[in-house]
Amino acid sequence: MLPDWKRLLVIGLLVLAFMAAPMVIEIGTGSLNLLIMVFIFVILSQSWNIIGGYTGQINLGLAAFFGCGVLVTHFVWKAEMPIYLAVIAGGLSAVVLAGIIGLPTLRLKGAYFAIGTFALAEVCRIVVGNIFERMIEMPGSYAASYSLIPRYYLGLTVAFAAIAVTYFITRSKLGLGMVAVRDSEQAAQVTGVNSFKYKVYALLISAFLAGLGGGVYAFMRLSFHYVTAVFSPIWTFEPLMAAVIGGSGTLIGPVIGSIFLVVLSEIFALTLGEAHLIIFGLLFILVVMYFPYGLVGSVSRIRQIISRVGRGLCETGENCRKGF
Amino acid sequence: MLQISNIDVYYGDIQALWDVSLRIGDGEIVAVLGSNGAGKSTVMKSISGLLKVRAGHIDFGNIRLDGLPAHHIVELGISMVPEGRRIFPQMSVLENLEVGASTNAARKTRQNTLEWIYEFFTPLKLRAKQKAGTLSGGEQQMLAIGRALMSVPKVLLIDEMSLGLSPIVVQELSGVIQGINKLRKLAVLLVEQDIELALSMASRGYIMENGRIVDQGDAKLMLCNPRIKETYLGIGAEEKAG
């Protein structure tokens, strides 16, 4: 791994490049849309990563937090508040929802947590579908001044914030606690870790990010024909896929997974139509079965094998499958 | 009849057995002794197919056992009573015994086998309908042995029979096993920490240390051997002497 200052430099240059890109070169509408989608996926998959990847709680209710963020941002923005406040309100509303959903379900173990969150997210979808029977949209004046560039910058900011949050969490005591919860539950051991506390923190942070992601989406899309669409389980499943394919429980895994998923699905959708989703499904299964640390993990694993052969040493350790 | 020749066995990357050889003749009781972690149970698991053998081979008559799956080895006539009994707690005593008679040959003689097992272990007959998890420790061990016998084996492997049981129960069980050995010409391989018990039942014994066989011989002679007494019987022997 690179030393810290070099890594910071690389990240700084990347941020600068992304900041400058729309000013320096003309990016087409299609590409801008695609980039904003990548940002939203980075936010959501990083959100899933915090609770699912690092803490080991498979959350199938992400869509509820995302949808909640979308709705609240939409209405706060409509009330003529500035968009950045609206997005933050969206994030906070998701935290509140996570409190309501999470505090009961986090007491559930393993697969039952997954089932419980899934069921509650469906409850949210049904309730929202009953309340908003007609489409919701921003007033026409917002559509008149619509430009993708501010959406791009908002998405970029929140995406980098999500990565930064994850980075700082993993280096903190909280991150250690989360990983301890995951590993001790996997080993079915009882440890001194107050696992409930760490699970709650992880879920709240994760929900906040998902809500922000919803905010970006609400800013991007001015109207929603079917409000239930933003609560659809797709918004849970696709970020989960991005996180796992890229490598859940790693910092850059979800980023790579998101780019991979969004860009490839754009390319495949044009050439293969529906079939590209089948390919993603198969790829996902293969990753789960053979590369539990995703694309990122397999790269470092290959690197490790090469260095092992090179040095003629036998190192076992960090890249071995969990639990073995 | 059962011949283990120079086997090496690993748990993952960690070697557990080095060059182990042992033999069980027809109708013989053989004991494998040693302290905790010496590799006795590993030998058992290698015979019954739960562990893979990396080098050497295990033969039963003309059939090579290593590499066969566990259920196939049962079919050939080798049955194991696992350490810790491992009965199916949610099933009735009778169901446990029925599962023991899973092989085709055993199914045909099931009723017959059941009757003579009930004769040896009468508590099982009385509690046939009861959930196995509700039995006492001694009864669970009876059930584990009975279940293993249901497959009508030619060789019975018993892993740590005496563990956690009172001396009276152990006496009773060992008596039954010796009886079945005589009546049914059943060969028995015992793995035991209770060395005195095992040697008193067996005709021959092997001693293991750190995954290797370090000594073997006639059980009665071993029981008198002062070195073995000192190393393994320890205080127990002194008490006897005193």
Binding site: I58, I285 | F88
Partner: protein, 292 residues
């Protein structure tokens, strides 16, 4: 009054189907500890097979159930070999459940989209000569197809119960679940028992699909909804308590009927799901757990 009776009748008809929907999931999860998220998708697949047999060859959807079962059984065998059997190597049951959940989650993607390509995203149903026929009991209407569904659910539930409790195969399966290693030491071929059980579980999903397509309708992406119902019923019955699944389905159907009566149709599923989460939290062993 008539409305109340009719709602309860609908609840019973739906409830029997809910039990049927959950049987396959309960067998895989409760007995074998594989969590098959793609269960609903397999149900839809079974529904399409039945739809196909009816549309291409005009075979009655209730008479074609054995054919659907055989086809789904074979699909189940392939499913086990490719996706589930590698998981037996995992060191503990928790990992087996989690990993099978993720793998079958990917499988949803594959099957959903394959079915959309094969059969278009349109909603499909089977219209026979007797579709829409009803009977009256105690002032409530029962549809003929719905009653057939109840009959099949009860029949299949009883059949599964007697296979598990009476046959050698059932005993082997239960033994393997409690302690796979000890079962193999008894001469049980654990891999084969699991293989066949997975086949049965998927065949059960097929039956449910065939009943659904004849009395309701299916669409390629409708699997998730049925999965959720199957989850709920399984949890209400208590994990591993196969015998209680059909009764638990009826309870869930009546629960829905009750919430229709009190809160109205739009919140039917939402209320039932909330009750489900409450059960999950306060009585995680299920409503039908035996006291021991």
């Amino acid at each position: 009054m008539e409305f109340v009776l009719q709602t309860i009748a609908n609840g019973l008809l739906a409830g029997a189907l809910y039990g049927l929907v959950a049987l396959g999931l309960g067998l895989l999860m409760g007995v074998m500890k594989f969590l098959n998220i793609a269960h609903g998708t397999f149900i839809i697949l079974g529904g399409y097979l039945s739809f196909w047999l009816f549309n291409l060859w005009g075979i009655d959807p209730f008479l074609s159930i054995p054919l659907v079962m055989i086809a789904m059984f074979l699909i189940g065998l392939v499913f086990y070999r490719l996706a589930l059997s590698p998981l037996l190597k995992l060191p503990d049951v928790g990992m087996r459940i989690d990993t099978s959940m993720l793998i079958t989650f990917g499988l949803i993607w594959v099957l959903d989209n394959a079915m959309t390509m094969l059969w278009t995203p349109n909603v499909r149903t089977i219209l026979t000569s007797y579709t829409g026929e009803t009977f009256r009991f105690f002032g409530a209407r029962f549809s003929f197809t719905g009653l057939c569904g109840v009959g099949i659910a009860v029949l299949v539930g009883l059949a599964l119960y007697s296979v598990l409790s009476r046959t050698y195969f059932g005993k082997h399966l239960r033994a393997a679940t409690q302690d796979a290693e000890a079962a193999s030491l008894c001469g049980v071929n654990v891999q084969r028992v699991y293989l066949i059980s997975t086949g049965i579980a998927i065949a059960l999903a097929g039956v449910a699909g065939a009943v659904i397509v004849s009395s309701y309708s299916i669409s390629a992406s409708g699997g998730i909804g049925w999965l959720l119902i199957a989850f709920v019923v399984m949890v209400l019955a208590g994990e591993g308590n196969i015998n209680a699944i059909i009764p638990a389905g009826l309870v869930y159907g009546l629960l829905e009927a009750g919430s229709v009566l009190i809160f109205g149709v739009p919140y039917r599923q939402a209320i039932a799901l909330l009750v489900f989460v409450l059960v999950l939290m306060f009585k995680p062993q299920g409503l039908f757990a035996k006291r021991e």
